[in-house]
């Protein structure tokens, strides 16, 4: 092998290594990193939205309602569950768990929130749902027909679930809808 060839070969190898490095980093950055960044948590009870809507004939507002003072109640309290589930209604494992582990000992269910805003954000559901007449599904996943509660992906670094809306999403929508983006609109 001549010295020239040697050089060529090593150049090719160099570029191959470049590609390896590049592809490897892309793989790590796009595939491995998100896997590592998020932990997966499961809800304490695998809540079935579909069965409550279809078989029990409940509406969304039965559980997710606005309080009298205009604040949004978010997830229901155990008391709401206990109204029907003082005893198991069906035969699912999750329902049995609900009754024995939570309803009977009167212990609140530690639901994990999918999209709770940080403490430094003043977010009003009333302003968005009642005044701006937005649909829940503009921001949240559509739970209609969902038979399982999806696992919650929680960012190990920040502690927030991955569905928590980022600030730019708020800002984009505010800009589109001609709503003020002044700091103190959300950060009181």
């Amino acid at each position: 092998m001549t010295g020239e060839n040697k050089q060529q070969n090593s150049g090719l190898l160099g570029w191959a290594l470049f590609v390896v490095g590049f592809a490897g980093a892309l793989f790590v950055g796009w595939i491995v990193f998100p896997q590592l960044l998020y932990s997966t948590k499961y809800q304490p009870i695998n809540y079935n939205h579909a069965i409550h809507q279809e078989e029990a004939g409940m509406s969304c507002e039965d559980c997710h309602f606005f309080r009298e003072d205009g604040t949004y109640a978010g997830k229901p309290k155990l008391a709401a569950c206990a109204e029907c589930h003082s005893e198991p209604q069906g035969e699912t494992e999750d329902e049995a768990k609900l009754v024995s582990e939570y309803v009977e000992p009167e212990k609140e269910i530690p639901w994990i929130s999918y999209s709770r805003q940080p403490d430094n954000v003043f977010f009003s559901h009333a302003a968005h749902v009642k005044m701006a007449e937005m649909d829940c599904t503009d921001c949240h996943r559509d739970v209609e027909g969902q038979t399982k509660a999806p696992p919650v992906k929680i960012n190990r670094l920040t502690g927030y679930p991955n569905e928590v809306m980022k600030m730019y999403v708020c800002e984009d929508c505010h800009a589109q809808e001609n709503v003020s983006n002044a700091c103190d609109v959300c950060h009181k």
């Binding site: 090593s10 290594l17 490095g21 590049f22 990193f33 430094n120 960012n155």
Partner: protein, 790 residues
């Protein structure tokens, strides 16, 4: 094939390029920023549904109605005014608004504490159980029962059933030494006794007055009931300009009250009473007084007139007060014409006892223009018809105690005034007479900081064997205690709140626990009941109740039986409208109903007690208002004519004028709380940077004085009086008169917590309190001082 340096660099370069095109660095940067906002010590309040609960504020005697917003019924997040409460009508002062900082602040005491080392060393105040704490106290009390007189209690709360239980305990135990922290109310009740024959407190019908002349009262800076006064001020200013209520502030310092008045009369230091007498002289000599009142319902008018003619003509008053005589004459005419007009007394926020003659001078002015017991004038605060508790059961030892002299009595003052002379107590303890004070209880008071001229008190503490504090906070007095029995704060306990000072109608507030006590505190009322039971004998029989709530309910029964007044359940009530004597339709039908509604709304009020007629108002020997006090004679006060007449007698400020060429005068503002509590961090933040900068507070001096002393704005100075010295910065202002230095009180705490302590200096440490000759009441309006740059 060999991995050389170049190839390696390419691998790395590829890696870097790929990384940059992946979300990793960007996401990491963002998440790291968010991570840094969520360190574990950052508080994250629990979310949930909010409820609002009505109760009554107890941070000052004002007793405003407040609403507390709670999340999930347990975490208080906001306090604002209750619009249905007649006194504050939804208003709130900065102290009331920052109440949660006291509830959740780190200076709360969590358990009973016992001093295990040197008194004053906070690190050796060790937590003990409630059982142990109460046993220690009960054992000591059993041991000293033969010398029961050695038990002393000082309460900072002048009214209310818990204070009454303390007084009751001492009486049943056999000690005459139940005392109150000094206040203007001491002079007021004595003055009312001397001039009107009854020890009642004045109630001002300010909402209906046409002209207000305030003699040194900080009428919008904490005098009376702050929220009520601010509301009244707003109402005075509502009218069209031509019909506005005229406000005159007679005060040496250019205070906020002065700047918001129509007229600020800058009298020479300490001469407000002389100015009042000057006005009285003009009103009488020009025949502008209310003849119907003076001729038929007053006694000693001629003596008063002659005294004024002799000593208080405009020329002479000008010489004393340095106010031009034209101004005196003009103001006197205006005061006599503006019907109804009312004159206010009580220096500053009403914490200083002051001179009895200052009060009498101002009341004489009210009497002259016929403003006593008339709409828009001054009457007396009506009493609330609470049912009495059964009589105290006196056993052999408490009967013995009844005969003992009080520790605040003194031979040099005249006998036996129903006064409360805390300074005499301090003096007597330091001199060890007439007997030893063995144990001191401190309730709702912080004399180790809050008492003007505090040093002699600290000295006195060292002569008292046991100091017991009932405070919820690690205040300066509690730091010096041997035993601490922390009570729940006002938001965690049941307690009644009496009619606030200076009000013309009756109010009864019920403060109730709006949340679970944060710590295992025991209500002072319950402590006393338990203690009494464990002592047995007459003491136990005097406390027949199972708990404080039962005792309180027994008294409220009286209200229910009377059936008058209303529970304040709707906004917009203006009890001062339509005059007093207005019977309100009651809105409760039984005790249970009343109790429940009180719990729900917080307050009962009544306007049905009419102002007394002039025929019935005066219980003096003459049956009239006494300009010349026969009542004083009847009580046994000896002296010459001057002793019985309102006159001006200046207490000479302590200190040699040659050594201490300037005068130091304390002042009080609404943004710095005085009393048992320290300023909340919220309030401290509201101070301007010419009041508090960093940890330095400012004293106010005139530019001329500053120039003489070579001082510039912001210079650090030492202030030295007979008592000691302090350091502060100077603020140059026209509000200060030359040769006077004004210092704010209420700062400079060394107790509480790191958010509170060390802000400014405690003026009380260098003020010198002096006592009035006849009554022994204390005054500390001025102390001689020298200042120099440091």
């Amino acid at each position: 094939m060999k991995l050389d340096r170049r190839a390696f660099v390419k691998l790395i370069a590829g890696g870097v390029g790929g990384t940059l095109l992946s979300p990793l660095p960007w996401k990491m940067a963002d998440d790291t920023a968010i991570w840094s906002q969520n360190w574990f010590w950052r508080p994250s309040p629990e979310r949930g549904g909010a409820t609002t609960v009505n109760t009554v504020c107890q941070l000052c005697p004002g007793g405003c109605g407040i609403r507390v917003r709670l999340i999930e019924d347990k975490n208080a997040v906001r306090i604002d005014g209750n619009p249905s409460h007649p006194v504050n009508q939804g208003g709130i002062c900065p102290l009331g608004a920052s109440g949660l900082q006291y509830l959740y602040g780190p200076s709360r005491i969590e358990t009973p504490l016992k001093q295990t080392g040197q008194r004053g060393d906070v690190t050796t105040l060790k937590p003990i159980s409630w059982d142990e704490a109460l046993e220690i106290l009960a054992t000591k009390l059993r041991g000293m029962r033969q010398k029961a007189r050695g038990l002393v209690c000082v309460s900072g709360k002048r009214q209310g059933t818990v204070s009454e239980l303390f007084a009751r305990f001492l009486r049943a135990y056999g000690s005459p030494n139940y005392m109150l922290m000094p206040a203007a109310a001491d002079a007021e009740s004595l003055g009312m006794l001397f001039s009107q024959g009854q020890s009642r407190l004045p109630g001002y019908d300010l909402e209906n007055a046409k002209m207000i002349v305030s003699f040194g009262s900080s009428y919008i800076e904490g005098w009376g009931t702050p929220a009520r006064m601010l509301l009244a001020f707003g109402n005075w200013r509502k009218n069209a300009e031509s019909d506005q209520v005229k406000i005159v502030q007679v005060e040496t310092r250019g205070s906020l009250s002065g700047s918001k008045a129509d007229d600020w009369v800058a009298v020479a230091p300490g001469t407000e009473a002389a100015f009042a007498l000057g006005l009285a002289q003009v009103i009488i000599s020009e025949g502008r007084y209310d003849r119907a009142f003076v001729n038929q319902y007053s006694h000693g008018f001629d003596e008063f007139r002659r005294l004024l003619q002799r000593n208080y003509t405009p020329e002479k008053v000008t010489a004393i007060t340095e106010v031009p005589k034209e101004k005196i004459t003009a103001l006197a005419r205006e005061f006599a014409q503006a019907k109804p007009a009312v004159a206010l007394s009580g220096w500053g926020q009403g914490r200083m006892q002051g001179s009895i003659y200052d009060f009498l001078a101002v009341q004489s002015l009210n009497a002259l223009v016929g403003s006593l017991h008339k709409p828009g004038g001054v009457t007396r605060t009506p009493s609330v018809p609470l049912a009495p508790w059964p009589e105290v059961v006196l056993d052999a030892m408490s009967l013995e105690g009844e005969k003992e002299p009080r520790l605040d009595g003194a031979s040099e003052f005249q006998p036996p005034l129903p006064a409360n002379l805390f300074y005499n107590f301090v003096k007597n303890v330091n001199e060890g007479k007439p007997y030893r004070a063995q144990m001191l209880w401190v309730y709702e008071a912080n004399p180790a900081h809050d008492l003007a001229d505090v040093k002699p008190f600290i000295e006195a503490l060292s002569k008292i064997e046991t100091v017991v504090s009932f405070s919820s906070f690690m205040d300066e007095t509690t730091q010096l205690a041997d035993l601490v029995l922390p009570g729940p704060t006002y938001l965690e306990r049941l307690e009644d709140v009496a009619t606030p000072p200076g009000l013309q109608y009756a109010v009864f507030g019920l403060s109730k626990p709006v949340l679970m006590p944060r710590f295992a505190a025991i209500h002072p009322g319950d402590i006393l009941i338990q203690l009494a039971k464990s002592l047995g004998g007459g003491v136990a029989s005097s406390f027949p109740w199972s708990d404080y709530e039962t005792a309180l309910k027994e008294r409220v029964q009286g209200l229910a039986e009377r059936g008058s007044g209303r529970v304040a359940d709707e906004p917009g009530v203006e009890p001062w409208k339509g005059g007093q004597g207005n019977t309100l339709a009651s809105n409760y039908d039984s005790f249970d109903d009343l109790w429940e509604k009180l719990g729900e709304h917080g307050c009962w009020f009544d306007t049905s007690a009419a102002m007394p007629s002039w025929d019935s108002a005066f219980k003096t020997p003459s049956g009239k208002f006494e300009f010349y006090s026969q009542k004083m004679r009847q009580i046994g006060i000896r002296g010459n004519d001057l002793t019985y007449l309102p006159h001006f007698e200046q207490v000479e400020p302590a200190g040699d004028p040659n050594e201490y060429p300037l005068l130091l005068m304390p002042y009080e503002t609404l943004i710095i709380t005085n009393g048992p509590l320290a300023n909340s961090p919220f309030m401290t933040k509201m101070l301007f940077d010419f009041e508090l900068k960093g940890d330095d507070c400012f004293v106010e001096i005139n530019g001329k004085t500053a120039a003489d002393l070579g001082l510039k704005e912001g210079d650090r100075v030492a202030l030295q009086t007979e008592r000691g010295s302090l350091e502060a910065r100077v603020h140059l202002t026209g509000a200060a008169r030359p040769d006077v230095v004004f210092i704010p009180t209420g700062l400079g705490h060394s107790g509480f917590d790191s958010y509170i302590r060390g802000k400014g200096v405690n003026a009380n440490a260098i003020l010198v309190a002096q006592q009035e000759k006849v009554t022994g009441l204390a005054t500390w309006w001025g102390t001689r001082v020298k200042i120099y740059k440091v």
